[in-house]
Assembly symmetry: C2
Homo-oligomer: 513 residues x 2
């Protein structure tokens, strides 16, 4: 068998059954092998950042990697931004990049680029396969690397001749390396601190924000008086009624400093020490006071749930009832505001939905109003590279086998980076509802500009304003096969959202805000 065939069979043997693809000439033997080997679901994205964003969304829901298929260095570069977001979400991705034949590369053909160097700057693992008989071996190692806790970008570069040459050998499943065990000393220290009733914040991320992790953290908080908070952005977080109504770290440094001021100790559970998204003149980079002590209960690659369980055990914490989030809000009416949208989402969200949040500045306060929504998983923009929402929603819907509704709360400026994802939603007939927040400006940047000291003048607005002409999202969506309608009031938005939740396929609501 040729290298390409050994690649597909090795991927299947290693539990990879979904391939998000945007192939090119150098990947034709891989495409042919996919064609000849049953078992792999192939999903086309019309631009590579859609492909990588789908793979990220897939991992966040499936908790196992999908593969990508990208074309040479420039194809990898096109998909880089959502690989970056996936890296920050600690998603596992088997990132396959076809490239020039080993003997063709020295001729520096037009599409030649430094694929390996591009791959290294976003991947935890990179290998270029040198001959057909190593394709299977390398593919299995790539899957293993992607499955290494907590999840990694693993990039396999496949020169076209190793795909078409004969001599491919299928490699068996390689188990992922064991998750690094709980650090007993860290648990002891945490228990001492909590027994002392110090002012402690448990900052949760990763597995600590799963249903199980949250529940244990809540038990610990009830037993010790510690407070809980979650990262501003989370790869996947369980929310809604029956889950702990957790507060998010604020985005702004001023608000974050204020929120963290009461605590003498911050204990990280799968989280990193809170740092500002961006530096500002005269403001600190760290979002906590210099007197605050940072402790690590569990590093991102460790088993946070086990660490929380050990800590709860040491403290003798009992199972504490999850507090009620109160009544589910009713549908809001009138002109759209962030609060009203959050309320309406809480009112209408179906049971077990997936919420993809790339609402950027509009959605900073969504948590407060959505604790009483139906139980749901929320996926955030983790790496700050906008254009993640629509692709992630598409991949998440595929991971859920089309059985869970996906609601994307999507800022318009960000949506424009990867709007091609809507086409894949239509082609795969995915249960994706997009509420497109059409404010026709880069509103976050207008805020940031004002922070520089002045109101933007005409030249600045030329770069911050998305109007003139207004984007017509109903046309854009229907142009890609996704039904769509415009809403100017919350009543209209609610009606369109509710009816979209009864559909099988995708729908887009352009909410003029």
């Amino acid at each position: 068998m040729n290298g390409a065939k050994s690649l597909v069979e090795t991927l299947l043997a290693n539990g990879i059954d979904t391939c998000f693809a945007n192939p090119g000439t150098s990947e034709m033997h891989f495409v042919a092998a996919l064609d000849q080997t049953p078992g792999m679901r192939c999903v086309l994205g019309l631009q590579e950042n859609v492909v990588t964003g789908m793979a990220d969304g897939y991992w966040r829901m499936a908790r196992r990697p999908a593969s990508t298929l990208l074309h040479c260095g420039p194809g990898l570069a096109n998909g880089f931004a959502n690989l970056h977001n996936a890296r920050r979400a600690q998603s596992g991705i088997v990132n396959i990049v076809g490239d020039h034949a080993t003997y063709h590369r020295p001729y520096d053909p037009p599409l030649a680029a430094d694929t390996e160097s591009l791959a290294r700057s976003v991947s935890a693992w990179v290998r270029t396969t040198d001959q057909a008989r190593h394709v299977g071996r390398d593919a299995a190692a790539c899957v293993q690397a992607a499955r290494t806790s907590p999840g990694q970008i693993a990039t396999l570069i496949l020169p076209s001749n190793v795909s078409w040459d004969e001599g491919g050998i299928v490699a068996a499943d390689l188990p992922p390396p064991a998750v690094p065990s709980v650090d007993a000393a860290a648990v002891d220290q945490a228990a001492r601190l909590l027994r002392d009733r110090a002012k402690v914040l448990l900052l949760l991320a990763g597995d600590a924000v799963t249903v199980e992790g949250q529940g244990l953290a809540w038990d610990i908080a009830q037993a010790s008086g510690a407070r809980l908070m979650v990262d501003y952005v989370n790869g996947t977080i369980a929310r809604g009624s029956g889950r702990v109504p957790l507060e998010r770290m604020p985005y702004s440094t001023d608000l974050a400093l204020e929120a963290l001021a009461p605590f003498e100790h911050i204990m990280l559970v799968g989280a990193k020490a809170p740092v500002a998204f961006f530096a500002y003149p005269g403001k600190p980079s760290a979002q906590y006071a210099s007197t605050t002590q940072i402790h690590v209960l569990s590093r991102p690659e460790q088993d946070a749930v086990a660490a929380l369980r050990a800590l709860a055990g040491q403290l003798g914490a009992k199972r504490a009832p999850i507090p009620s989030p109160g009544e589910r809000p009713s549908i809001a009416s009138g002109a759209p505001t962030p609060e009203r949208l959050a309320q309406t989402v809480a009112a209408l969200l179906p049971e077990n939905a997936i919420v993809v949040d790339e609402s950027v500045s509009f959605g900073r306060g969504f948590y407060r109003h959505t604790h009483a929504a139906a139980p749901s998983d929320w996926l955030h923009l983790t790496g700050g590279a906008i254009g993640a929402g629509l692709p992630m929603a598409t991949g998440a819907a595929i991971a859920a086998g089309g059985r869970r509704r996906v609601l994307t709360l999507q800022a318009d400026g960000s949506a424009m980076y990867t709007l091609q994802a809507l086409w894949t939603q239509a082609r795969e007939n995915l249960p994706c509802t997009t509420v497109l927040l059409s404010n026709r400006k880069y509103n976050i940047l207008i805020g940031e500009y004002k922070a520089v000291g002045a109101a933007p003048g005409p030249t600045a607005m030329q770069m911050l304003d998305l109007g003139n002409p207004d984007l017509d999202w109903v046309k854009l969506a229907t142009g890609m096969g996704v039904e769509a309608a415009r809403a100017e009031t919350m009543e209209q938005c609610a009606e369109l959202m509710a009816s979209s939740f009864r559909r099988e396929g995708p729908f887009l609501v352009e909410l003029v805000v």
Copy 2:
């Protein structure tokens, strides 16, 4: 003054008056400085590959660099593919990337990436400015690098604190390094070869395909019996009546080998030795026989026109009349075919138009049928990273001050990578006509797949077919403010094209092929 202000004033002092931008938070001080300093035209692109593609198209027509403004590593990555194409076109670009404050970076905030490493893999020159008083100096050096013959990608990385800190110093214009002089020995050798009446092909690219270069090459050909050919892709090539009806190198290796078989010698004039875009099993990488001798009259960075003039002088070549391309074809009728479209373009193209050709496989034979078109400049996809056409057209229109009609011959699959460029065409009301070749498949790949040995099955077609659902380009274009209409016959296409040429602003014809 702060660093940002010194940046803008240095750019202006160094002849940079156009900035293609997609800014973010870390660039707000640059945006503010642009706002406060008159003289810079700022053009927003809604995705970074639009921004870099516009800068490429701008250079190709203006022959002087514009600047970009990109946001951090992921923003640079988003614009990488069209920087790659620009690098292959030898375009000069002052590529400005804002980044995290120097002291913030060690905290590894969410958007942090290895910006320098990304920049290095596509730039000839990279510098990260370390403090405000160096911004002006570094910006001037960046412009100088971009203007280094034949044109280079020069990337300046600006941490946000060097923009906002006081102490900026405006730097005066740095002249670009002298163009490397003509190699007298190469001219002597070329003259000897041509006097021997050997079977010589002059392969032209870069400045050798300007009106002046072509004319000299034609004189040499007439005096010596040498034949002329141009690269398959050219950054900018002067074509149409009054210009030499030059043949292109074929794309396919088989056809290229056949076309080059008659020649014992290939003399490169600004061109590289012809190499296949991709390797294929059993086919050579070089597109010429191993017995063919390769000579270099002028390297890409040298002055090809001066070399041709020196050679013409040594040969005593007289000014030879440019051969007539024959009658201008009439508008074609019936179902669209490549030949009919080329004919119709030749019939209708306005004087002094700019043609941007990203027709991919559909347009491989366009040259043959368009020699008799009105004089025009043609811009090709040089680096093979699809998604260049619409951005390049936008930038070229801006470089031409809106005074020349731009016709983009645009494949649909490629258009989807950077369709956001249409919005910029609408906002800037640019004289851009797009003929969108809607074949609803990656036709080049279906051809490549068949070359692998079989007809694509359903899994392969899932990755090669753009139908299901069909993209509606009229909706997509009008959704971004560009008027559009669909044509299914050549008569309809001709009518829409002709009427678009009488407009001020942009128009898109979806030609169903």
